[in-house]
Amino acid sequence: MTNFNLYMWNQRDLKYYSFIFTILVLVVSSIFLFLSSEKLLVMQLSPELEQKSIVVGQTLINPIKKAIVEGVNVDQLRGLEEHFSETLKDNKEIRYILLNTVDGRLVYSQGMSIEKIKFDILKHQNEVGKTSVEIDKYQNTKLPIEIEGKILGYIHLGIGLDIISSTMHDITYDALIVFFISLLVTFEILFFLLNYRINMPINWIKNALDNGKEGRFEYLHYIKSRDEIGHFADLYTRLIHNLDKIYCDVKNKFPIFEVTSDRLEDITKAKHEFENIQNELHITQKKSRKTKETYFIRTPLFLFVFAESLSISFLPIFSNILYTPIFGLPKDFVVALPIIFFMMVYTISQPFSGIWSNISSKKAIFLVGATLSTIGLFGAGFSHTILEFLSWRMLTALGYGMVLIACQAFIIDNTPVEKRTQGLAIYISGFYSASVCGSAIGAILADNVGYKSTFMISAVISILSGIFVATYIRDRELFEEQNKFFSWDSFKTIFKNKPFMSMLLCVSVPSKMMLSSVIYYITPIYLNAMGTRQSEIGRIIMIYGFIMLVLSPLIAKLADRLNKPVFFIAIGAILASSSIFPIIFIGGFWGLVFCITLLALGHSINATAQVAIVPIILRKEASVLGEAAVSSIYRFLEMQGFVFGPTITGLLIARYNYLYSLIIISSVSCVLTIFYLVGVLINKHSFNIQR
């Protein structure tokens, strides 16, 4: 290996190649497993299909036998077509039924045309042994009409093998979701592992060696891995230890030498030498290296949000199951209560957690939050009444708010101001990627193991996120930047800013209202009422997170380049509001799918623009209150939409149906967007915002 630049290779290419390699292995092994599973399914289900055919065939043969015994000839049986036709109607998987004489003459047949396969059926009839064989896309089962040991004819039933392929079809969708999620998980885990186990120690070693060249030696005992890197770090520490030992020896003996030696020239020479060495040699011994790189918070954030998102797709459905009347409130409103109170507690916990994060360790807040959430998730799984469920969801929300604030504060603490947007982008992408994975996987889990077990799995993953933080994340010892949080005066100052208030009331709050109403409440309960499978509900909810995850960063870059945030806010708001049209004009399942897609498109366009514009609109206020404070107040106010959304929706559904409620909410959002746009056009000057 000549002039191979290990440092550069490690930084750039390793992540890329490892990712590609893992995906490649994943794709190939998944395909193999999928194909093997299909074969197994055919093998295991075929005997059951045969059993079914035999049972159905027996019910057909018995009256035929009776008629023959009474003297009717096989080809003179009356009403047999009707009998066959009724059987076909009752057993959808059976595609054809036919009666052949022993010599192979077709007497009666019902169902699909057997013209193409009639010779194969005849061949099967003449074969000895097998009751069922696969012919084309059917499993043909033959049953003899036997009277007193003499076979008079055969009944043939064909079960469509598409029952197996449709089973595989269902699994295919879920498998694709699993594969997609595995991609995201691969990215998250490899990202962490390569950074934590390779990039970070190599960077430390590189720094240590660069400093070593200059005589500044550093013990590397904090690199504790038991691999090639760890082995090297041990040896390096031994090297420094040897040098340190001799240096300390000289240093300790030098004062004695100075006092005891009478040879002045030796003392002067030695002193000069010793001073030289002291100037050239610096040995440092750090207790530990802090893991303060912002991307390390992404993995526990991912795990935590993933755990919490597992229940998104079925939360209102689960509430509906637990429903019992409360204080005469309408049922649909009671069903929405766990979502409303979750959002309420989450919103309220934000400022308090923010204040706490200023005076306490982020790690501690994360751990407390994760513990509360874990207890809440366990409790939710064991709830028997809606009130119990409500209480556990509130506890989960408290923890949820704390963890999210701890993560944001960790990023703010560990990134310089000029890199904060990038730092928060790590937070946002981690959040959405976990949300996408969680909602889809949660739906698949709920579909297969049930709601309660899914809550248990959530709780376990939430514990894992806590263990991760406890093991890998270390806090800063000093909090250099104290985030300023709320006071009533700061609210009053901000409320006076008209462009800000119009954006807040006409765009931001309605956006969150639409999000919480459509995604968290109406979609699960509406699709469930339509008989949609739980995993399909999860896939549909996933559309929102997926679009946000993919488009948000791209649009953020574009918005930065074009530098016209108001334009992006307006376009986003128009698109989000137009989500009403698919509901009106298409309706049903696809109407909802297009509605979510438009909503996600709109939000992905205007969400980042809104966050970016706040410090600009509130420039004056930010100079007094601080940028962090105005952003926090904005987030707090915007989140009220999360509370209003399900509250209003619950009340509307209690009075109207899902469709009308959705139309009313979308219309309100649409009207508010128009107000905002009119405001922007009328007051062009005050809305002319550029960075």
Binding site: Q51, V55, F232, V250, D262
Partner: protein
């Protein structure tokens, strides 16, 4: 644990996660499809008995006076070993029903469990109702008289054991396939990780050898054919060696001076 092993373990964990989820999905899908097929099979039997009962009723005979029903249900039970019992029952009031025919003769005349009746009443599909139990499942169809009135029903109780047994067999087969695939994948991942991380592994092993040879023998090799980190290490070692020499000289000077003085 070497770097290759560490990375391989991580990659394998991800693959195990994804493939296990696939196995899990297939298993649950199989279980539900099988349960559905078994249910539909017993529904056919129940419907067949119902047709026999309806034929009798259409002749004006009451349910309890029908002839041959006991034989029909017993034959059905004997032909299908997974059937635990078949009951034909008749409503005695709106919320009570008694067994008229039963494959367990001792059960004739007994009341039908309340849960069955409730399920039957709330069942949206008038043609059938279904109850899932721990040990056994029940599938039922209503009996309607000539005036379209529900006068009773037929319930088949069948063992869950069969579905469970088949599902376990499927799971074992799936796990066998999974373990085979994982064995092959493990080898592939090990080789792939080794090739991917070979440069880092090799470079650190070489640097460790350099360090060891320096610590044990004080040798510093030349710069030829080295990467950036190795070059930094050589320069660090040179600096270290120079400082060590200076310290040794100083130590020597100090000891010499002390000796001469003595």
């Amino acid at each position: 644990m070497s770097l290759t092993l560490k990375i391989s373990t991580a990659i394998l964990s991800i693959i195990v996660f994804a493939l296990s989820l696939l196995v899990f999905l297939t298993y649950f899908k199989y279980e539900s499809t099988l349960a559905q097929l078994v249910r539909s099979r017993f529904l056919v039997i129940a419907s067949d008995i119902k047709n026999t009962v309806h034929r009798g009723l259409s002749l004006g005979v009451t349910l309890s006076e029908l002839q041959g029903i006991q034989e029909v249900i017993e034959e059905a039970k004997n032909n299908h070993p997974h059937i635990l019992s078949i009951k034909v029952f008749e409503f005695t009031s709106d919320d009570q029903a008694k067994t008229v025919y039963n494959t367990r003769l001792a059960g004739i005349g007994g009341n039908i469990p309340e849960l069955w009746l409730r399920t039957m009443l709330i069942s949206k599909k008038a043609e059938e109702w279904y109850l899932k139990g721990e040990e056994a499942n029940v599938i039922g169809v209503p009996i309607v008289n000539n005036f379209g009135k529900h006068i009773g029903g037929i319930a088949i109780r069948y063992s869950q054991h069969y579905i469970h047994e088949q599902s376990v067999q499927m799971l074992n087969n799936l796990l066998r396939k999974l373990s085979l695939i994982l064995t092959a994948v493990s080898l592939f991942v090990l080789v792939g990780s080794y090739l991917l991380f070979y440069p880092i592994s090799k470079s650190f092993s070489r640097m460790s050898n350099l360090l060891e040879s320096y610590i044990n023998r004080g040798q510093i090799p030349s710069h030829n054919g080295m990467d950036e980190l190795e070059e930094s290490l050589i320069n660090t070692l040179k600096k270290n060696s120079m400082l060590l020499k200076k310290l040794e000289n100083l130590k020597h000077l100090m000891s010499l001076s002390s000796y001469q003085e003595k």
